[in-house]
């Protein structure tokens, strides 16, 4: 790794002030499980001069519940999310997603905030300096998305425009299904955005000097029954090829609420709005589930090599609906 200045931040304000001060040449580090790989391979056009460690900020590692819902501090580790009895009992899709990430060692270090902020896995974007790289692309601010004419077997089938890299975050998927919001702090104050809106085609929603501080999930009472299913080439220790989170409420034999989020198919987690709307008011039997799965991929526009992801998405949506209602 090339040298940089490492600064421990002790308050949220200190962290975002330094980030703002070194605008463009500073990065935040929490668990570092993604950032260190990015730095080591020197994939970005500008190498940061300053790495601001936010792990030294007290009070950002917590899971609390009140009548409004669940709040997770951004520094809560994935291991803690996966093993929290509160999360396991009331937000099982979230616990399952945390458990599905990487390996135990990485889950001990990786944080939920970092999981949302990690950079994409696109192999053109990540092509290392050492082997005749890095490669320029739309996401780095120059040229086209290289996946479009290249090997795009793992890329977006939905909502890709200038960049077809998919959202690598497993946590984003159940959070989107659970209508969670990301709390952001920065020099201009605090704000909240929905998890699905946090991801944009070329980057996340964080502005200059901003950082994620908390994740808020509405009360479990309205969340219904949940499931999270992740499909990857290798198990375990792999990023999702497709993942699906579902939150279903069925009353009197009819679906009254359905939320389905799909991961790794688009720049962010995608809510299958057509499928959700279709399900509401229906008895959830096999035929309805099949139709909902078809609805979930309406609008899919696969690239040259990734149409199979549409098929896998449909299969996972069917399974996630069934599994939630089991």
């Amino acid at each position: 790794v090339r040298s940089f200045t490492h600064i421990n931040a002790h308050t949220i304000e200190e962290a975002y002030s330094m980030l703002d001060e070194h605008r463009g040449s500073a990065v935040l580090k929490a668990g570092g499980t993604d950032l260190l790989g990015v730095l080591k391979d020197e994939i970005l056009p500008h190498y940061p001069r300053v790495v601001i460690n936010v792990k030294t900020i007290p009070g950002l590692n917590f899971i609390t519940e009140d009548e409004r819902g669940l709040t997770l501090g951004a520094l809560t580790t994935l291991h803690e999310v996966a093993n929290s009895s509160l999360v396991k009992e009331r937000y099982p899709a979230l616990a399952e997603a945390a458990r599905s990430v990487a390996t135990p060692q990485i889950r001990n270090a990786a944080t939920i905030g970092g999981n949302l902020c990690q950079d994409v896995r696109c192999w053109y974007y990540r092509y290392p300096l050492k082997i005749g790289g890095p490669l320029q692309c739309a996401r780095k601010g120059s040229g086209p998305c290289l996946a479009v004419k290249g090997d795009n077997r793992y890329h977006a089938i939905l909502e890709g425009k200038r960049c077809f890299a998919v959202c690598p975050s497993d946590m984003a998927v159940p959070l989107a299904a659970l209508n969670a919001e990301v709390k952001i702090a920065g020099p201009k104050g605090e704000r909240k955005v929905g998890v699905a809106e946090f991801f944009k085609p070329l980057r996340n929603a964080l502005g200059n000097g901003e950082m994620v501080t908390e994740i808020e999930i509405p009360s479990h009472q309205g969340q219904g029954k949940q499931a999270f299913i992740k499909f990857s080439i290798r198990e375990p220790g792999d990023f999702a090829l497709v993942s699906v989170a579902s939150a279903m409420t069925v009353e009197g034999g009819l679906c009254t609420d359905a939320r389905i989020a799909i991961g790794a198919v688009a720049p962010g987690p995608v809510r299958a709005r057509e499928a959700e709307a279709f399900l509401i008011g229906q008895p959830v039997h096999q035929e309805v589930i099949f139709k909902a799965a078809e609805q979930s991929v309406v609008g899919a526009r696969p690239l040259s090599m990734n149409a199979y992801k549409v098929e896998i998405t449909k299969a996972l949506v069917r399974r996630a609906i069934r599994q939630a209602l089991e």
């Binding site: 391979d41 390996t103 192999w123 005749g132 998305c145 220790g237 696969p302 149409a307 199979y308 896998i312």
Partner: protein
Amino acid sequence: MGEAYRFIGKTIPRRDAKEIVTGAACFHDDIRLLNMLYGQVLRSPHAHALIKEVDKTRLQKLPGVRAVLTWEDVPDWKGGMTHTTRVLDRKVRFVGDAVALVAADSKEIAKEALRLIDVEYEVLPAVFDVDEAIKPGAPQLYEECPGNVMPPGVPGWGGPRSLKEVVMGDVEQGFEEADVIAEGTFGYEGIPNPMPPESPGAIALWEEPNRMTIWVSDQSYYKHIGYLRRIVGKDIEIRTFGGPCGGSYGSKSMSWQIQLQAALLSRATGQPVKLSFTKEEHLAAYVLRPTSRIHARVGMKRDGTVTAVSGTWLLDTGFYSQTTQAQVAVGCGEAQLAVRCPNWNLKTAIVCTNRNASGIVRGFGGQELKCALIPLLSLAMEKAGLDPVEFFKKNFVKPGDRYVWRDGRRYTYRGVHHAAAMHEGAVRFNWKEKWKGWLQPTAVNGTKRRGVGFGIHGNADIGEDASEAYVRLDPNGTAKIFSSLAEHGTGQKSNITRMAAEVLQLPLERIFQPPSDSLLSPYERGPGGSRMTYAAGSAVIAAAEDARRKLLEEAAIVLGAKPEDLETVDGMVFTKGKPGNGVPWEKIIGADHTCMGYGRFEQDFTLSNCMMTFVEVEVDTETGKVDLLRVLNATDVGQIIDPPGLEGQLNGCLGSAGIDSALFEETILDRSTGHVLNANMIDYKWRTFSDLPPIENVILETPYESHRFHAVGVGEVATAPGPVAVLMAVSNAIGIWLHEYPTTPERVLRALDKSTFNRANRTERGKP
């Protein structure tokens, strides 16, 4: 079963076990020499280009840089099978090819230096497909290889006579006699990386005027001397050290480019230089398996007799051939071992393309050819209604059968009959119950379908090449084995200790091996082709027997007895049957003497091992996911030397470009730019320990006429039969032929016609 032995076949901890698990073993990465510099390689961003200009001026400001070398600064050293590939060249031939070398006081400075070298390229058109590369007008990689076809033949194996193709009998007549004929194009083209845990590296020290010392991280080290001398000149005195190497799987049989890159930097600086590849370089700029593609036709009778095989075997060797001609020779030989057929016309061509090179990988040619040939044979077996296990029982080499081996000579097989292991494996796997016929699933459960498959591979290289050893008996009742054998992870250094111990009847703790230094020990070619058990073992056994004979001859004089009446056990000599009257070695040898034995093994191609793999898979027809449920390997090794070591070798059938090359292991190349896209351990799908299927190993011990312990090696071939077995099992599960490796969800769904979305809904991307 074999004789009752004291050490052979017993479960005994390896000599180096404690060192390895406590971290005391000194691997390449652990070596630090006085004044050692660190090397780095600047790599090409283009798949094919001429270097127009290299500007080093920005480097002058960076302290700690000791040398920067480009093609203009170095001697014209050329390596590879055809000696056409330079260590540094004016032309780069793949993304990641070496452009410049840097030596600096630290790794960090060397890396920083790479950023300060400015290179101007003239980009040339590149070619990435074997059939494209041989078309007229294709970009040409070497002037010496018109049409991108590498000259055939292996100089060291009889040159023009070495095996380049399988041509015999009359294929026309063979096809006329056939009841069924199958033909088509089949490939094994995933270019998987064998990926030993330790990435390649070397330390070199050049001392003027003509001494070069290399600390290798390879599985061999003595044989490098001859190879390197051919490149750098016969007047250079070369010494090599081989430490424990962190795995190889064949790929680190030879790392001449890294070694000579380090040597050039040492030559320029006068200091030792260490060059260690990163995992990214290991994946993108080191060697892969050759790409194998056949366009071929086979004829078969209904009873499983093969009447004709004809066609072309094309191998894509990447930007140069390290040993691909040798892989062709061995592959052609191994095809004859597996398929008994009087009429062959199998031509071959080795083609170079603009990707990182193919090199030595276990399975060496035969795995590559069989992974393409057995699917073709399977089509014929389907037409003839033949069970593949029965087919290979009939066709695999049997005592008295003849075949042409790598040197172009004909040999008669004198090993064991492998049908016994095939039968035993099939019984234990419950093959007859599970095999429902071609393209028939073993079981269907909703959207999940199960299927079984079978693969087979054997190699007559178990006795290839020469080995030498000395065994020295010391008066204090210890023995020293001098063998130029580097430990590459399989425990062979411990195994030769057992063999010497058994001959000398000496406890293992009293047998030592000096450091792996080419100045100390005699010629040993090193591992390859599962040769260690028979070839290296024979040399050590012969050396131990020679030392023992000399000892007993001396003892006969001292004790006034006949040598044949004497025995030695635990460092004592006594009359047979009278251990009570023993005399210690010191009294025989003399306190100021040693007793040295010498042993040599000459190559023998008349024995072959055989490995069979049975697999059962489950295919999720909704997602295309293939799960490996069960693996059973069956083999006959003659005599087990080291039970856990053998078990470990057979369990190694999954990774290192074995079975998993049919499931998910592949090197992914951008087919228009030549970038290796998955040069990291996340995107290169490598099985983790938490995802191991049950593996059973059926091991028979029918004595071979090899050496006094009747054993042969099987380590190399453990990966070879698996990929084709998986392809067969997946095809049977889904009822549709799959002919591409690996069987990814995309390929399975496409075969099931479930990825039709594209055809109906395809929209052009990248256009406004």
